[in-house]
Structures are given as C-alpha cells and as structure tokens.
Subunit: 181 residues, 2 copies
C-alpha cells in the first residue's frame, strides 16, 4: 500500500492537515509504515486533483496556509475498494540478520556486541510500543500494538536463547572449500 492510499485511509478518521497526517503516521502506523513530508504533501495534492479528497485552506498570518483535507465520497469508495483487495505479503528487511549471515568474517567479540546491541534495540522499541499501547483508544490500534510487542518479545527471546549457536561456532572437522551454491 503506498503513501497516497494510506493518507486517504487516515482521512477516514476525520479531516486533517498534511502536518497532522504525518503525526498520525508516527502515532498510529509507525509499526508498519512511515512517511516523510516529502511524500505526504505531494500525495495530498494528487488526491485533491483526483477528486478523492477536498481541501479547505485556512489562511494564517505569517505562516503557510493551513490546508485542511477531507475525504470525499469518491475517495471513501476508492479506499474501500483498496482494503478489500488481498493484502500484499509482509516485507521484512534486516541488516542485522544480513550481517549475521556473514558472521564467519567477524571476530567473536564483534558478533556478541552486535547481538547485545540488537537486543537492547528491540527491548527499547518494545517498551516504547508498550507504553503507547495503553494510550490507544481503538481496538484495532491496541491489537496492532500488541502484535508489535509480541514480535519484539519473540525476537529478544530467540536471540537470548540461540546466540550461542553463532557466538561459539562448532569447529568444523574437515573444512570443505565453500561455495555460494
């Protein structure tokens, strides 16, 4: 789902400015998506051109016009259609895990440090998410939040329980010439 569609979706919760949508991304979607102003503002302009949102400009003194966007019936319909499509598969990218694929090139101490840091990272993100969870109003938000917390917890436990596998590599008896295949 692209930023444009997600902006449209966020507007189903009520009208908002680009600035507020950015905050909504951070507050409610940061677990699964994020967006910068440079993708939000053009998206909003495009949605307006397409007639999927309408825009009311409030002029402010010494500041850019505050542009308040609302979803139109056409926009609502479009978004409804979108969320009835089968969702694309989850995508997970991890430089941490990718690096561990090459742990044969690192010294044991470095592998340990890498894992330590990653655990601390996961812990912190989990805590941040947990804290936010309580403040969420809707069930969906709490559900998502809980999902994130669960995932982080599982990752932490896996790392703690299995790190020895790559920290103390079992000596290979007959080190065959390796190949990519």
């Amino acid at each position: 789902m692209d930023i444009r569609t997600l902006c449209l979706g966020l507007l189903t919760f009520g009208e908002a400015t680009g600035y507020e949508i950015k905050k909504a991304f951070q507050d409610r979607m940061s677990m699964v998506y994020d967006a910068s102003f440079s993708s939000i503002y053009p998206s909003l302009n495009r949605l307006t051109k397409e007639g999927l949102v309408s825009c009311r400009a409030e002029s402010q003194s010494r500041r850019p016009d505050r542009k308040v966007y609302s979803i139109t019936p056409a926009g609502r319909e479009e978004f409804l259609k979108e969320i009835h499509n089968a969702p694309a598969a989850d995508k997970f990218r991890s430089d941490f895990l990718a690096t561990l694929m090459f742990s044969h090139l690192l010294q044991p101490g470095n592998v340990s440090r890498l894992i330590d840091n990653q655990i601390m990272d996961y812990r912190q993100k989990k805590d941040e998410l947990s804290q936010g969870c309580g403040m969420k109003q809707s069930q969906s938000e709490q559900f998502l939040c809980g999902f994130g917390v669960t995932m982080y917890q599982a990752a932490i436990e896996y790392l703690e329980q299995n790190r020895h596998l790559i920290e103390a590599p079992a000596p290979v008896r007959a080190p065959a010439k390796q190949s990519v295949k």
Copy 2:
C-alpha cells in the same frame, strides 16, 4: 544494505555467476532480502568497474557468455568495512496490519476471512522455512532460519489468541466524533 553490497557479500562464499547469485539470494537470504536479475547484473557490472570483483568470461555455444565473478582483496576489505558498521534498523512493512487499522470500514466477516488467510499464509511460510532449515549447512544459516520460524510462530499465536479483539468489537457507548489526531 543495498543489493550491490549483498552481492559482494555473497561472493565471500566463493565465485559465482549472476545467475547463481540470484539463487543464493533465494536460498540463503530470502528471509531478509530479495533481488531480481535487473538489480543483480548491473550491480555486478558496477562492482567490476570499481575493482571490487573480477570477472572471468567463459564462452558457451549458443548461450550468453557465462561470467564468473570473484571477490578481489579490495572487495573483501570494502565488505569487511561494511559489516563493521552498525546495521540499519529493521524494517517491517505489512499491508495486512495496515488493513486491520481500518477494520472499522470492513464487515466482520471480511475481517475474519482476512485473518484466516493471513494465518494460513504465515503457516505456509513457516513450514517452507522449517523444511529448508534442516538442509542448511552453516550455523549462521540455521540461526537465521530459526529466527524466521520463531517469528512466524509468534505471529500465528498472537493472531489466534487475540483475533477476537477486532472480530467482535465491543460496542462503544457514546461514539464520540473521531479525529485523526
């Protein structure tokens, strides 16, 4: 980590053609990264220009030259440097979860179907990964594989145990006018 760097990394396991690197991506890295020929071939050409890999062409009859790439000392050094950098944070994108954020726009039956499908999906991916796990030779590969299996399992359990939260939304007493904020 970009495809170019990952190609360089895969070549630390031994020489390979672009075609074989594509397979390596699928076999060993699919959990955390994937790449198409259209990003691999240009990467390899660029790495060659940069002197980080060398290329030996084997001419074949009625088929494009088989180009076998090897990492050079400079390439090895470059990659070493790369994996000693602090890894970028994990990225997780989920259209499924994003869709659930908008479950207030879906009928209960659709929410249930969505979750059912997602669980089946996760189960299948977990099984595929589990199967592959046994065949992996190196500890790092088994470690990564195990990580993936653990994550899928955690996701499945969370969905099964918490789906009722969004399948049967508790009736709101005084439905306040919602807002994005």
